[in-house]
Amino acid sequence: MGTLIVLFWIAVALGVAIAAAWGFRALAAALTRGELHRALRDAPLTASFGMMVILIYLVIALLAPVIAPFPERMVVGSQFMPWSSVNWLGTDALGRDMFSRMVYGTRNTVGIAFATTLLAFLIGSVLGLLAATVGGLLDQGLSRLVDVLMAIPSLIFALLLLTIFGTSILTLILVIAVIDSTRVFRLARAVGEGVVVMDYIEAARLRGEGLVYLITREILPNVTAPLVAEFGLRFCFVFLSISALSFLGLGIQPPTADWGSMVRENATLITFGDVTPLLPAGAIALLTVAVNFVVDWQLYRASGLKE
């Protein structure tokens, strides 16, 4: 019976998602013009669903204090209160309003993951493009360093570094960003290398152009598309890594509202058949799915018809 009910709700959720995605696509296409309009109109439902979800998260993150009925850290009742009209999703292990913490969690979890990805990208793509353009010893040195760093599984490496530097939000961002920048480096270097061998780069070199001009004017415009798609993938990866660390109690620390830690703090409820702790985990999953759907669509578009 339990399984049947779950299946029923999955079916309902799917139906709602498809309808919402369809509606969103129609709306988005109606509100835009030209190239963008064509792209949106022809987007698959998965992609429009993804875009819709990302937009909703963005709004929630920006308007968190307006939306949340209670402050992030305020104890509003006893622990583990059930869902009610006051505390929509009940209360957590310390008696804080679950719904409000979910809302603030959007801001904290997504914000931190975004900042980390941005930093990882800055480090990775600058070094990667530099290695590809300059070549020689710099390239050799950086590539070997990255090879070795990548020989350590990223979560394990993160755990090691967090042991040493302790767990604060800043160290978390720095550690994950540095580890993840190795992946960005690989991609940026590979894509950059593909561009650097082009005759137009040779022509620019023979013209006597400097390194900065080469990278910013000639190479960068040709690598942005793959790098943007990679940004989405890296964001998912970083977001999942940080959530995993928080879930393990080693990431974002209490009392900051964060989805990974919320799952951990309230996990006991699951064994009593209460789905509440699954909600923050689901919120993580939903955003990652959404981003992946959009990235997939972009990659497909970029690859044209090459299957």
Binding site: Y200, A203, R205, L206, R207, E218, N222
Partner: protein, 546 residues
């Protein structure tokens, strides 16, 4: 010939290709009739739909293509209605296919013999041991070296020309009624091409196999085909017996294909004064592999030096040494009498400005994300300090020079131009620097013949107008004939022979030059037979390979 002899009959064939969400026509209603034992040449430039038609003759359409109309009748079987299983039984057994790149079309994981035997054994034509004996026999007929042993090699252990012959043997393994040859020699050097052409023609004649021979090279098809059909953008232009077609082409388009070969620039006066660029005893290597061995030649103002050679001859490396991308291990490059620093990074702006380059692939030579204005404008801005209005004026002037309407093209991206237009932009970029010397690296080899001829004429005109010296790197002797004043023949990193064009094209030649010159197909259906006969007499090397 009676209708009984008809093997393949295609009526009103329509093929469409997918572009985005739409299907666009590739072939619009082509008819084709092929008799038993007959060879039909399909000729057309890129995008003419000739390969697509070749595959359709097998009832096959690549991913992203579909046969949307017409009938394909092969010996009484309707290939459009035939089931997959029926088609499968025909493929390899009664209709075989020889692909353009043998290196990519042989499975790298299996030996040649394994791949040869696959079709006869699987189609139940022969037993494995019979097939193996037959393979050795065919390998011998097709004059592959070591016919007993070559089958036990993997594809990567066999050279390109030999692989292409082995693929022809493989296509013949079931003694099919029809073989489709899809540009089988396009990827090969001229001296290797001869061998493959001879082998294909021999074996097709010997077994009386019908064939469709697809190519863009008229001279090649003249050797191979009984009849020629000419295609342009998915439409048939005309069809006739080979000799008739060569003697009296009817259609304007066909005539224009012939005329291309007629362009020849007038002879220039003998060089006066000092050379613009000189190579003095230059040797160079990639890592430890030597690629240039003691080469020297001069390039004079207002003259074009054609550097000719096959792949691996070192002709492009010579260009890299001159531009400073590859510092030589020995020797030096002089510009107007002064030695240039070997590394381009050490050269002055003035030295860089004076030597410009035009590339083979205009697609990769122009930054796809920059508008024409930036591409042409940058050298003028950098070297000549032009800005604002003056710069725009200069860009417009340059566009006029290369015969493109400035207002229409100045703000376009390279992707909004045709192949020939892109190459013109590459020329304009070189001109923008106001150089004394331009290296043209195979600038016409990626272009269709008519477009290529336009580019050659443009380069010729610009040379006169701006007193330019050209170094023209090419593998194509027809191009050399058309534009060169001096010729440098290279082979394996050495200069084999050099001198003014009239001397170079008149005997006596060095043996390699002779081989190279005689290997260029001519528009004469008897050329190949005559050549092979001559070579047999003179006992000249049968090809550059091995």
């Amino acid at each position: 010939m009676s209708t009984q002899d008809v093997l393949l009959s295609i009526r009103d064939l329509k093929i469409e290709g997918k572009s985005g969400d739409d299907w666009l026509p590739i072939v619009n209603g082509v008819d084709l009739t092929l008799h038993r034992g007959e060879v039909l040449g399909l000729i057309g430039e890129s995008g003419a739909g000739k390969s697509t038609i070749g595959l359709a003759a097998m009832g096959f359409a690549r991913d992203g293509c579909r046969i949307s109309g017409g009938t394909i009748d092969f010996d009484g079987i309707d290939l459009r209605r035939a089931s997959r299983e029926q088609l499968r039984r025909l493929h390899g057994k009664r209709i075989a296919y020889v692909a353009q790149s043998a290196a990519a079309s042989f499975n790298p994981a299996h030996r040649l013999m394994e791949q040869y035997c696959e079709a006869p054994v699987r189609h139940g034509v022969m037993s494995r041991s019979e097939a193996e004996r037959d393979a050795v026999d065919l390998y011998r007929k097709i004059r592959l070296p070591d016919p007993e042993g070559i089958g036990f090699r993997y594809p990567h252990q066999v050279s390109g020309g030999q692989l292409q012959r082995a693929m022809t043997a493989m296509a013949m393994s079931c003694r099919p009624d029809l073989i489709i040859f899809d540009e089988p020699t396009t990827a090969l050097d001229v001296t290797t091409q001869i061998e493959v052409l001879a082998a294909i023609r021999d074996i097709v004649e010997q077994f009386g196999t019908a064939a469709i021979y697809i190519t863009h090279d008229l001279a090649v098809v003249a050797q191979m085909a009984d009849r020629i059909k000419i295609l342009l953008r998915g439409d048939e232009i005309e069809e006739a017996d080979t000799r008739e077609m060569l003697a009296a082409p009817k259609h304007d388009y066909t005539r224009s294909l012939w005329a291309v070969r007629a362009f020849q620039r007038p002879e220039q006066p003998a060089p006066k004064g000092a050379p613009v660029v000189s190579l003095r005893n230059v040797s160079a290597s990639y890592g430890k592999v030597p690629v240039l061995d003691n080469i020297s030649f001069d390039i004079h103002p207002r003259r074009t030096v054609a550097v000719v050679g096959e792949s691996g001859s070192g002709k492009s490396t010579a260009a890299r040494v001159i531009t400073g991308l590859l510092p030589p291990t020995r020797g030096e490059v002089l510009f107007e009498g002064d030695a240039l620093p070997p590394d381009y990074r050490k050269r002055t702006r003035e030295q860089l400005r004076n030597a410009q380059m035009i590339y083979q692939m205009a697609d990769t030579a122009l930054n796809p994300k920059l508008p024409i204005r930036r591409i042409i404008g940058r050298p003028a801005q950098m070297y000549l300090g032009l800005n604002g209005r003056a710069l725009t004026e200069r860009i417009r002037e340059l566009l006029h020079l290369i015969e493109l309407e400035p207002d229409e093209y100045i703000d376009r991206l390279p992707s909004e131009l045709s192949g020939g237009q892109k190459q013109r932009i590459g020329i304009a970029r070189a001109l923008a620097a106001e150089p004394r010397f331009i290296i043209c690296d195979e600038v016409t080899s990626a272009l269709d013949q008519i477009v290529a001829e336009g580019i050659l004429r443009l380069l010729d005109r610009l040379q006169g107008a701006f007193d330019l010296a050209y170094m023209f790197i090419t593998h194509d002797l027809a191009t050399v004939r058309a534009i060169a004043d001096d010729v440098v023949v290279m082979q394996k990193g050495r200069v084999v022979e050099q001198g003014p064009k009239p001397e170079m094209f008149a005997p006596p030649h060095e043996p390699y030059t002779e081989l190279l010159l005689s290997s260029v197909p001519e528009m004469d259906p008897d050329w190949l037979s005559r050549l092979l006969e001559e070579r047999r007499h003179k006992d000249l090397p049968q090809g550059a390979e091995k």
